[in-house]
């Protein structure tokens, strides 16, 4: 049995090219793309590394939905033996299925997405109990591997290119909730038109996150933290 696969070719301008790929059991969408590149057209550009859902580099738009192609079985997503594979939305296309993710990661930095210690190695260990509310809140968002699926799923990013996006805001939330972190400028960075206040709570990011993280919940946490800081005159 054959699968009809329509694949995006080109950069921002381009079109769909159709390939016929043989079906076999337990075939993933990444297997399909790899088959095309190895057997049908070696010029096809795509990106992957681990093939097992750890690295987050193989995300593409499959039949209109952003997904990790390595963890998506063809059986689950093919409609009438047909697949449409495009690069991730909301990111500039370099070529074919490869997007330029610089903006995505730059926004993590703009959101204050790195840990700023308040103590040094000579200080005693900070004690954060695993079952404390603080640690539970952080744990809920900490497993993000930066695949960009949520960013591609977010309509607010498509309307407002400055919007930091679900992944960067989720990362900021895990740090805002961390009592060991000392960045007091982060709440300013994530407030406002480009930050948490633009989130419409559509939940597309939460729906699509392959790690089952809810960036929406993290963004709601940021809204609360920002409002609290503003009312205390600390923003």
């Amino acid at each position: 049995m054959m699968l009809k696969v329509h694949v995006w070719r080109g950069g921002a301008e381009g079109g769909l090219q159709t390939f016929e790929v043989p079906r076999y059991p337990s075939q993933t969408v990444l297997d399909v793309v790899t088959h095309i590149q190895r057997k049908l057209d070696p010029t096809l550009a795509y990106r992957y590394a681990c093939r097992v859902g750890m690295c987050g580099s193989c995300a593409m738009t499959v039949n209109g939905v952003p997904r990790w192609t390595c963890r998506t079985h063809v059986d689950k997503v093919a409609r009438a033996d047909r697949l449409e594979i495009r690069p991730l939305r909301n990111l500039p296309v370099i070529r074919d299925l490869v997007t330029d993710m610089r903006m995505f990661f730059d926004k993590w930095e703009r959101a204050g997405g790195h840990f700023e210690a308040t103590s040094t190695k000579t200080d005693d260990f900070a004690r954060v109990a695993p079952d404390s509310a603080e640690r539970q809140a952080i744990d809920a968002g900490i497993e993000c591997i930066g695949c960009g699926v949520c960013y591609a799923a977010c309509d607010v990013v498509s309307w407002n290119p400055d919007y930091l996006g679900p992944a960067a805001l989720n990362r900021a939330w895990t740090l805002v909730a961390d009592s060991r972190d000392g960045n007091d400028k982060r709440l300013q960075a994530v407030a406002g038109d480009a930050g948490c206040h633009s989130c419409h709570t559509h939940l597309s990011c939460t729906e699509r996150c392959p790690k089952h993280i809810s960036p929406t919940a993290g963004i709601a946490g940021l809204k609360r933290a920002v409002a609290k800081a503003a009312m205390e005159g600390k923003l």
Partner: protein
């Protein structure tokens, strides 16, 4: 606009939403309750005229609408029309003022 102003607008939006949740419920329940017995306009006026409680309630309702609606329209104008900056905010302030004027006028007629 600055992150502080955006934060204040967000708080105002949430606070006015909380007021509206109560106001709209009371308003709708009152309408349904009032018309069940077949009240005429004259009978309604007889109950509302001079009632400070209802006047205060509906003025709060109108003010909450005037705060809530323009803030809600702000991202719609940005995201759908690409309209940002001072001109957008000026139009929204005028829209809020229009809502206050229209609402207060109606309230004063019914309760004045």
């Amino acid at each position: 606009m600055s992150y502080r102003a955006d934060t204040v607008l967000w708080i105002a939006q949430r606070a006015s939403a909380a007021v509206l949740a109560v106001s709209v419920t009371v308003h709708l329940v009152t309408i349904v309750f009032a018309v069940r017995g077949g009240l005429t306009a004259a009978e309604i006026f007889a109950r509302t005229r001079g009632s400070i409680g209802w006047l205060a309630f509906y003025m709060v309702f109108v003010l909450a609408v005037a705060v809530h609606a323009p803030i809600g329209l702000r991202p719609v104008m940005t995201e759908w029309l690409g309209w940002r900056g001072r001109s957008r905010d000026l139009v929204l302030v005028l829209f809020g003022a229009l809502l206050v004027w229209m609402g207060a006028r109606a309230v004063l007629v019914v309760f004045g």
